[in-house]
Symmetry: C2
Subunit: 662 residues, 2 copies
C-alpha cells in the first residue's frame, strides 16, 4: 500500500491503516452520455445477441427473427405442438365468441365487431408477438372506457355511424401510441402505473361494469349513462315497476351456472375446459330456449340480425379532422395505455411461469401493430386479457399458433354461423360479463397490500373508490396522481438513520434495526438512505441538523462525552446532483460553525467525482473521507484518545494535527 493511502492509523480496531477513497478519473462527456442513454432506454441490451454473431447472413436472420418472432418458432414447429395448439385454440375461441359479442355491446358498438376483433388482431399478434401464452381479444375495461369517453361527445344511439368511425380512429391512435412507445423504448412509462394502482382501478372498473349489467339482467330499456354507483342505484330503484321477472330469472340461472363451473374448475384445474366452455354453452342454451319459447316477444331482448361475412375494410372510416379527431386521440391514448398495462403484465407473468424472456418494448410494438391493422379492418381495441390467456395456458398451448387456430374458428363463425346468434338473449351476455368481471375484482390482493404495505393499500383503495363513486376517468386520474405523488414523496423524504457499532466487530448498523448496536462516544454516524437530489436536499439539511441537535440534547442529559465528529455514511447515496453537492457544502459550514468535524464514509464514484469538480472536496478535505464507517470511526477515536482533551491544540505524538479534532 503506497504512502498516499495512509491517512490515519486506525486506532480502536488496530487492524492497520485506513484505505483511501480515490477521485475517479473523469470520462469524456460523450461516453458518459452514451452509457446513461443505454441504461435509460436499453437496460435489457436487446442487441447483445447480435454482438457475438460474425456472419452477416446469420445477423440478418437473427434480426428478422427479432422483429418477427414467428420466424423463430415456425421452423421448429412440430405436429405434437400443433395438436396442443389446436385444442387450446378451439377452447379460447369458444370463450372469445361470446365474450367478444358481450364486450362490443359494452363499448356501445355493433356486436359483430367483437367477432371481427377476434379474427384479424390474433393473426397479426401471432407474427409479431413474443409471448407463447397470450390469447388476443377485446377486454372489458377499455371497452367501457371507450364507451364512456367517446359517449361524452357523440351519442352511440343517435349517431351510430360517427360513433363507429371514432371507435376505429381511437383504436388506430391507441395502436400508434403503443407502437410509438415501443419504438422509442419508452415502455417504462407503463411501469409508473403501479401494481396497487392497477388492482384498484381494475377492481373499480369491474364493479362499474357489473353495475351496468343490471340493465340487461333486469331487462330495463332506459338506463342512466353515468357509471357511478349512486346514479346507477338511483336509476335501478326508481324504475322497479319496469323490472322483467323473466329476464331476472334467466340471468340469475346463467350467472349461477357460470359461477359454479368456474368454482368447479378452480377446485380441479384439469377440468379447466368446463369453465372455458361454459359461456358458449350458456349462449347456445339461451338461444335455444328463446327460440323455442319465443321469449323475445315477452320482454327478453335478443341480439338480432348479425351480418354474415368477414371483416370489411375500414380505412375510409378513420376520422383525421377536427373537431372529432381530438376526442379520438385522447380516447386512444388513455385506452391504449390501460390495454397495454394489462397485456404486458399478462405476457410477463406467463413468461415467468414458463421461463422465457419477453421484451416489453417489442411487445408494445406487436400490440400497436395489431391495433393499427385492426383499425383498418373494422376491429376495435384488443389486448391480451388475463382470463383468456389463463385458459390458453391451461389448455396447454405451445406457441402463438393457438391464436391462429382461434382466428380460424372465428372466421368459420363469421362466414357461416352468425345467424345462430339471432336469438341469443342479451341477458346471457350480461351474465357472461358479470361472471368474468367478478374474477377481476381482486380483493385478495387488496388484503395482501393492507397486510404488507399500508400506503400501497391506500393507493389501491383510492383508485377503486375514484372509479366506483366518480367515473372511470376520475378513477384513472386519481390513480395516476396518487402514484406520481407517491414517487415524489419517495424522492422528497429519504430516510436517515443513526448507526451504532455491532459489538466485537468493525460493522456499523442502524441502531433502530439492531438494538445491540452501540453508540460511539463523541461521534454520531448518520446514514442517508437514498440519492440526494434537489427535491430532498433542503429536507436532508434540516434533518441532519436535527439529528445533531437531538444527539447533543441527549448527551447533555446524560452528561456523556461531548460530540466531536459527524460521520456521514454515504454508501447508500447512489447519485447526487448539484443541489445535493451544495447541501453537503452547507452542512460542512454548519458543522464547522458548531465546532464539529464532518467526516464522510464510503462515498460512491459519482459523489466523489462531483465533490471534486465542484471543489467541495477541498472544503471537506480528502483526509476526512474514508472507505468504511469502521475506518472513519477508528480514525476519529484515535484522534479523540491521543489528543489532549480541552485545548486539543498542537500535534499529538504520531504527528497528526490535533487542531483537526475540534
Amino acid at each position: 500500500m503506497g504512502n498516499n493511502d495512509l491517512v490515519f492509523p486506525v486506532g480502536v480496531a488496530g487492524v492497520g491503516c485506513a484505505h483511501r477513497v480515490p477521485v475517479p478519473a473523469s470520462k469524456p462527456f460523450l461516453e458518459t452520455f452514451r452509457t446513461n442513454l443505454k441504461e435509460t432506454f436499453f437496460p435489457d441490451d436487446p442487441l447483445r445477441q447480435f454482438k457475438n454473431e460474425i456472419k452477416p447472413q446469420r445477423k440478418l436472420i437473427k434480426g428478422l427473427q427479432y422483429f418477427f418472432p414467428i420466424l423463430e418458432w415456425a421452423p421448429k414447429y412440430t405436429l405434437d405442438f400443433f395438436k396442443s395448439d389446436l385444442v387450446a385454440g378451439i377452447t379460447i375461441a369458444s370463450l372469445a365468441i361470446p365474450q367478444g359479442i358481450s364486450y362490443a355491446k359494452l363499448a356501445n358498438l355493433p356486436p359483430i365487431l367483437g367477432l371481427y376483433s377476434s379474427f384479424v388482431p390474433p393473426l397479426v399478434y401471432a407474427m409479431l408477438g413474443s409471448s407463447k401464452d397470450l390469447a388476443v381479444g377485446t377486454v372489458a375495461v377499455p371497452s367501457l372506457l371507450m364507451a364512456s369517453m367517446l359517449g361524452k361527445e357523440v351519442s352511440a344511439a343517435q349517431n351510430p355511424g360517427l360513433y363507429l368511425h371514432l371507435a376505429f380512429t381511437a383504436t388506430f391512435f391507441a395502436g400508434a401510441f403503443q407502437a410509438g412507445l415501443g419504438l422509442l423504448r419508452l415502455g417504462f412509462i407503463v411501469d409508473f402505473l403501479s401494481h396497487a394502482t392497477i388492482v384498484g382501478f381494475m377492481g373499480g372498473a369491474a364493479t362499474v361494469v357489473c353495475l351496468q349489467q343490471l340493465k340487461g339482467i333486469l331487462g330495463l330499456e332506459h338506463f342512466t349513462t353515468a357509471t357511478d354507483l349512486v346514479s346507477v342505484m338511483e336509476s335501478v330503484f326508481t324504475q322497479t315497476h319496469q323490472w322483467r321477472w323473466e329476464s331476472v330469472v334467466l340471468g340469475c340461472c346463467f350467472l349461477f351456472f357460470l359461477l359454479s363451473t368456474r368454482y368447479f374448475s378452480k377446485k380441479s384445474p384439469k377440468f379447466f375446459w368446463i369453465s372455458a366452455a361454459a359461456p358458449l354453452t350458456s349462449v347456445i342454451l339461451g338461444s335455444v330456449l328463446v327460440y323455442l319459447t319465443h321469449a323475445e316477444n315477452h320482454g327478453v331482448q335478443v341480439i338480432g340480425y348479425l351480418k354474415k361475412g368477414l371483416n370489411p375494410p375500414s380505412l375510409n372510416s378513420l376520422v383525421f379532422s377536427p373537431p372529432y379527431m381530438m376526442i379520438a386521440l385522447k380516447t386512444g391514448i388513455v385506452t391504449g395505455v390501460i390495454a397495454l398495462a394489462e397485456g404486458i403484465a399478462v405476457g410477463r407473468s406467463f413468461a415467468m411461469f414458463k421461463n422465457y424472456h419477453i421484451d416489453g418494448n417489442k411487445e408494445m410494438i406487436a400490440f400497436g401493430s395489431m391495433n393499427m391493422v385492426g383499425s383498418l379492418t373494422s376491429c376495435y381495441l384488443t389486448t391480451g386479457p388475463f382470463s383468456r390467456s389463463a385458459v390458453n395456458y391451461n389448455a396447454g398451448c405451445k406457441t402463438a399458433m393457438s391464436n391462429m387456430v382461434m382466428a380460424m374458428a372465428v372466421m368459420i363463425t363469421l362466414l357461416f354461423l352468425t345467424p345462430l346468434f339471432h336469438y341469443t338473449p342479451l341477458v346471457v351476455l350480461s351474465s357472461i360479463i358479470i361472471a368474468a368481471m367478478l374474477g377481476i375484482i381482486d380483493y385478495e390482493t387488496a388484503f395482501h397490500l393492507w397486510h404488507v404495505d399500508k400506503i400501497d393499500f391506500f393507493v389501491c383503495f383510492g383508485a377503486y373508490f375514484g372509479v366506483v363513486f366518480g367515473s372511470v376517468e376520475i378513477g384513472l386520474v386519481i390513480a395516476v396522481a396518487i402514484s406520481l405523488l407517491r414517487v415524489l414523496l419517495f424522492i422528497a423524504r429519504p430516510r436517515t438513520t443513526v448507526l451504532g457499532n455491532i459489538p466485537n466487530s468493525m460493522i456499523y448498523r442502524r441502531r433502530d434495526q439492531y438494538p445491540a448496536a452501540q453508540a460511539v462516544p463523541g461521534v454520531i454516524i448518520i446514514q442517508i438512505d437514498g440519492p440526494i437530489y434537489f427535491a430532498n436536499a433542503s429536507y436532508l439539511r434540516e434533518r441532519i441538523s436535527r439529528w445533531i441537535d437531538e444527539e447533543e440534547d441527549k448527551i447533555k442529559l446524560k452528561g456523556e462525552r461531548s460530540l466531536h465528529y459527524i460521520i456521514m455514511d454515504m454508501g447508500a447515496v447512489g447519485s447526487i446532483d448539484t443541489s445535493g453537492i451544495s447541501m453537503l457544502k452547507e452542512v460542512k459550514k454548519v458543522v464547522d460553525r458548531r465546532g464539529l468535524q464532518l467526516v464522510l464514509a464510503n462515498p460512491g464514484s459519482e459523489v466523489m467525482k462531483k465533490l471534486d469538480k465542484s471543489k467541495v472536496l477541498e472544503i471537506i478535505g480528502q483526509e476526512w473521507i474514508f472507505l468504511t464507517v469502521g475506518e472513519a470511526v477508528g480514525a476519529c477515536s484515535y484522534l479523540l484518545h491521543t489528543c489532549k482533551p480541552g485545548t486539543m491544540e498542537g500535534v499529538n505524538e504520531d504527528g497528526v494535527a490535533c487542531a483537526n479534532v475540534v
Copy 2:
C-alpha cells in the same frame, strides 16, 4: 452469541460465525403512520423547543414568539442595533423607490403602486418574518409574469381599472396560496423547482425583461406585446425610423453609470453604498436634466403626475366572481410560487451566512400574510429580492427593523416627495431595470453546472431557452416538466453495480470505482443503489438478469469456475414497496431456475419486515440473508470449498446441507 445466530461458519475469512439479520418487531399501524406523517410534514420538528418547557406561561410566550418573531428580538433591541438598521434601512429605501416605480411599470401598473408596495408589506414582514436580512419589495420576474398572464385576458391600456383590480386579486390569491402552503406544511413543494431550473428560468426572464426595456431606451411608442426574442427583434428593427437618439444617448449614459458603480462596488465591498445609491442618483440627475432642458417636449417620455398620500384601501377592488376570478387565481398561484421560491432561497442563504435558522414553512406564512394585507392596501406582489437583500446585508442590518426604516422613508416620500418624480424620464427607469437584470443572468452558475453535472445544465438551458424563445409561461412549464421528468428518471433507473473484494480485507466495493477490487470465483455480488419501487421494479429485474448473463458469458470466455451464488447487497435499499417485494420473489424464481442460489446481504428493517409479511422471506430462506457482504461471501466460499463439486449433494462434514449449494 446464541445458537440461533450461527448460520454458517464464515469460511474464507475465518473471523467467526456470521451474524443474523432479525425480522424487526412489527409496530402498531397508528404509530408508524404518526412517525411517517411527522417525517413528511414536520422534519424540522418545530415544536421541539416547547417540549422541554414546563411552565404554561413560558409556553405561551414561546408560542407567541414562534408566530411573531418580532416579540423575540424587540425586547433585546439596543441603540447600537438601531444605528445599524437606520443606515441599512435608508440605503435600501434609496434603492426601493426607483426600483419600485420601475417594476410597477413593468407590470403595466400605475408607478405609484411600486411605492405603495414598499410601504405596507415591509411592515407586515417585520412582525412575522424570521429573516434578519431580507429586504421586502417588488421583483421584476413576477411583475413581468403578472403583466403577461393578466394581459392575455384584460388589456392594461384599454381597461386599466379592471386590470388594476385583477392585479390586487392575483396578489391576494398569491398570498393566500403562500400562507396555505406554509400552514399545511407543504413548503417542500417549492423544493421541486430545482436550483438549476430557477437559474435558467430567472436568467431567461431577466433576458426577456431587458429586451422589453428596448422600448424605453429607444423611445418607441408602439411595441409588441409578445415577449419572445424573435417578436421583440422584429418589432425593434421594423421601426428603426422611430428610434429617438435623445433617448438612446440618455439611456446608454445612465446604464454605463449604473454598471460602472456596480463594478466598482463589487471590487471593493466596503463601498457597497455607491452602487446602492446609484439608482436614486440616476433618477435625481435624470429628473433635473429633463426639468432644465424640457426634454419631455423632445421625445423623452417622463413618469408624469404621481398622487400624493398613503396607500388607499383596496378591499372593494378584489374581484371574486367569474369570469375574471379564474385568471386572477391562476396568475396568483404561478406568480406566488415564483416569488416564494426567490424569497425563501434568499432568506435561507443569508441565514446560512449569519448562522441562524429559518423555518421555510413559517416564512411562507409571513410572505403570504404580507401579500394578503398588501392586496387590501393597494399593493401588488412582493417578496424578498436578492439584490436588495444583499445591499441590506452589506449595509450592516441587524434585524427586520431595517425594513421598518425603509417603510418610513417610503412613507415620507409618499406624503411629501411624489411631485419630484414628475420629470423622471422613463429611460432612466429602463436603465435601472436593465442594470438590475444583468445581475440576475447568472452565466457563472450555468458554467459551473456544465462542469459539474451535465443533466442539471440541460435543465437550466431548457428553461432559459423556453423563456427567451417561447414565453415566460412556456419556459416555466418546460422548467417544471424537465424537473419532474428528472425526478421520475431518477426513480425509474437506479444504478446497479458489481462489487469486488478489496484485497486483504473483508470490504467489498464497486469494481468500477475501485479497480483493485477483485471478483470472487463462483459468486457475483450486485449492489442496488437506491430504493426499489413500482417505477423501477421491472427495470431492476431485467438489469439483474443482464448482470448474471454478462457474468456467465465472461466466465465462459475465460473458462473460470462457473457461477453458483448471486449475492444482492441491499444495504442501499432504503425502502421498498409491494412491487419491489414481488420483484425479489421473481428474481428468486429466475435464479432458482438457472440453478443458482440467491443470497441477500444487509437488508434494512423495512425490507426485512415486508419480506416477512409477504412470506417471501420463507421462499428466499432466512439462512440466506447475511448482515454483511463479507459474511455472505464467506459462507458461499465455505460451501463451494467443502462440498464436492459436480454432484453437490448430501451433507458436508460440518453437517451443512450441500443441496443448498446448487
